[in-house]
């Protein structure tokens, strides 16, 4: 076991700028190992001394990816045993608890006047309990559509969505959405808005009040606004109330659809910080949709980049930065830059493709 520590030392030696790059997550199940046998689950791989597990992927593996720990990230725990100078790595898929959310080959096609538009094409996602996942992509990449499908507000054309082990067939209070505009009800006070969902569940009024107070405190809304009407609140306060209104339902998954996009920079930064605090305190499973890469890097454990036309998962990044993260943290900056570069490449490629298509049409 002591050799394991050695290995991490070796990884340290390899340290360069690349090492800071976020882990690109590779699905181990299909990966090929330098060893003659395919690296599949429940396989035991023998490694010689100092040999590092490698998987073939679409790019030169970075130092971090060379370490076996990336297997861990996918929920495949590794067991490393040293015997006679040979390491054995056991890759095992142990039955973990049911993932909070599973999106299985989901496609969504919209019928418009101009014909069919594929908004989402074969999306697969697994989100574990307590994960903070950010979905980022250019506008029109279907990220909000996916959120609507998860929320059950819309039905996928193909594929299935499972939440907490139940097939999603419609909206339910286990998946509450915080919308960009807040969507608070103007005819109710702040307190009544937060109590709205509990009232639907016939929760007794004193319990309702206590819970609402708790969550309004959690989101940091000043007590003097508890009986205000919605139009009397600032944009930031509205989003705080919207988050409280969602959290009070104790959803299994909190879905957030660009909740801070309409706020000014200062308010946004404060709320991003507070959302991190809320997440650290409550460890809710959060799916957060944004078009802002920096925001995604700042908030997410995992950033999923969407590409458009048709909407699909382009890449996944693991963000391994200690919390609480600050927006001006150099690692946040670097990660943002790398992901943005990838995204730009994608956009350029797309516009190139689109232009090529146009030329054909014009001829």
């Amino acid at each position: 076991m002591s050799k394991l520590a050695d290995e991490s030392v070796q990884v340290e030696e390899l340290k360069n700028v690349d090492e800071l790059k976020p882990n690109k997550i590779i699905d181990v199940r299909g990966a090929i190992c330098p060893h003659p046998l395919n690296l599949i689950r429940d396989t035991i791989v023998s490694l010689k001394d100092k040999e590092i597990l490698q998987a073939i992927c679409d790019h030169e593996p970075t130092a971090k990816e060379n370490a076996p720990r990336f297997c861990l990230r996918r929920g495949y725990p590794l067991k490393v045993i040293e015997q006679n100078g040979i390491w054995q790595v056991f890759i095992q898929k142990i039955e973990k608890t049911e993932p909070r959310l599973r999106v299985l080959s989901v496609s969504k096609v919209f019928r418009t006047n101009q014909g069919k538009v594929t908004a989402l094409d074969n999306i697969n996602l697994t989100i574990q309990e307590g994960e903070f996942v950010c979905i980022v992509g250019p506008s029109g990449c279907g990220k909000s559509t996916l959120l609507n499908l998860i929320a059950g507000l819309d039905k996928p054309t193909q594929g299935e969505i499972w939440s907490n082990g139940n097939r999603v067939t419609g909206p339910g209070s286990d998946r509450v959405v915080v919308f960009q505009e807040g969507a608070l009800f103007p005819w109710l006070t702040v307190m009544q808005n937060v109590e709205f969902g509990l009232k639907l569940r016939d929760v007794a009024s004193n319990i309702r009040r206590t819970l609402a107070l708790d969550y309004l405190k959690l989101v940091g809304l000043d007590e003097k606004f508890h009986n205000s009407f919605i139009h009397q609140l600032s944009g930031g306060m509205k989003q705080r109330v919207a988050i409280a209104r969602a959290l009070v339902m104790e959803p299994a998954i909190l879905l957030m659809d660009e909740p801070f996009a309409a706020l000014d920079v200062y308010t946004r930064e404060t709320l991003q910080e507070e959302l991190q605090n809320i997440w650290t305190e409550s460890h809710k499973t959060i799916v957060f949709v944004t078009h802002n890469v920096q925001e995604a890097v700042l908030l997410g454990d995992r950033v999923i980049v969407f590409a458009s036309n048709p909407g699909q998962v382009k890449a996944e990044y693991e963000i391994d930065i200690a919390r609480p993260r600050k927006i001006d943290h150099p690692e946040v900056f670097l990660n943002t830059k790398w992901i943005t570069d990838d995204l730009k490449e994608e956009l350029e490629e797309q516009s190139y493709k689109a232009n090529a298509k146009k030329e054909v049409v014009y001829r």
């Binding site: 929320a151 909206p171 209070s173 509450v176 969507a183 103007p186 005819w187 969902g197 639907l200």
Partner: protein
């Protein structure tokens, strides 16, 4: 506020003064051009011998029954066609078409169907106000931001709850406007209908003034009709409307 009140008081004092002055010149006979004092006298005696009170009560009874019926039916139909597309395309278009008809034009039809009777009066009130109320509720429901419904659905609201907890409250400003408009249409058409019907209502008192060549009574009843219209519109509907608009943040 007080400044505005002084302006208003001065304006009406001068107006009544001019009226009294003109009347004192005796250019026209009194049955054509009454004096303010004469009108006031008629008002006082009208209330003293209770003919005005009875007239007001009878007219109010008619409008309350008819208007109440309109609210129940109009709200039901309006909320329904606001949400059901097929109904909107069929019933909705009919309602819009009928709404273009001035409510007093229902009078001949009501008279033919019900004769000169209490039912005809009620029919006029209902037909006068129903369509405004339907359209108010319908517009309100159609303009409910879809995001409210979506938000409520993710919090577990479904079916009828969506109507009572989200759609109706969200549509309330428009529903109230429909009520207000419906009321003023109903009041106008009732007064017109009562002119033709010997049924002791305010309209009937107005017509009686004409038949007796009593200009004082004509003006006095007109004043009563105006005051009731203003009181209901300003003190009841405008207040509710303002409160709702304020609360909804529309003001």
């Amino acid at each position: 506020m007080s400044k505005r009140f002084i302006k208003l008081a001065l304006f009406y004092l001068i107006l009544i003064g001019l009226w009294q002055g003109l009347a004192l010149l005796k250019i026209w006979p009194e049955y054509i051009f009454p004096t303010p004092l004469g009108v006031l006298e008629t008002l006082v005696t009208g209330f003293e011998d209770k003919t005005f009170i009875i007239g007001i009560l009878i007219s109010l009874k008619r409008i309350l029954i008819g208007y109440g019926f309109s609210i129940v039916l109009g709200l039901f139909v309006g909320l329904l066609i606001g949400r059901v597309k097929t109904l909107d395309e069929t019933v909705g278009s009919l309602v819009l078409g009928i709404q273009a008809l001035p409510s007093i034009c229902w009078l001949p039809l009501a008279l033919l169907w019900f004769g000169l009777s209490e039912s005809a009066m009620l029919a006029i009130v209902i037909l006068g106000s129903l369509f405004s109320i339907i359209i108010g509720a319908d517009t309100g429901v159609k303009n409910v931001p879809p995001i409210y419904v979506r938000a409520a659905r993710t919090m577990g609201a479904k079916g009828f709850q969506l109507y009572t907890k989200v759609i109706m409250p969200a549509a309330l400003p428009s529903i109230i406007s429909g009520f207000k408009q419906g009321w003023s249409f109903a009041w106008r058409s009732l007064m017109a209908a009562e002119l033709l019907y010997v049924g002791l209502g305010l309209g009937h008192l107005l017509m009686m003034g004409r038949e007796l060549n009593d200009m004082n009574q004509v003006i006095a009843v007109m004043v009563v009709i105006i005051i009731i219209g203003i009181v209901v519109d300003r003190l009841i509907f405008a207040r509710i409307e303002n409160k709702v608009r304020e609360r909804w943040g529309l003001a």
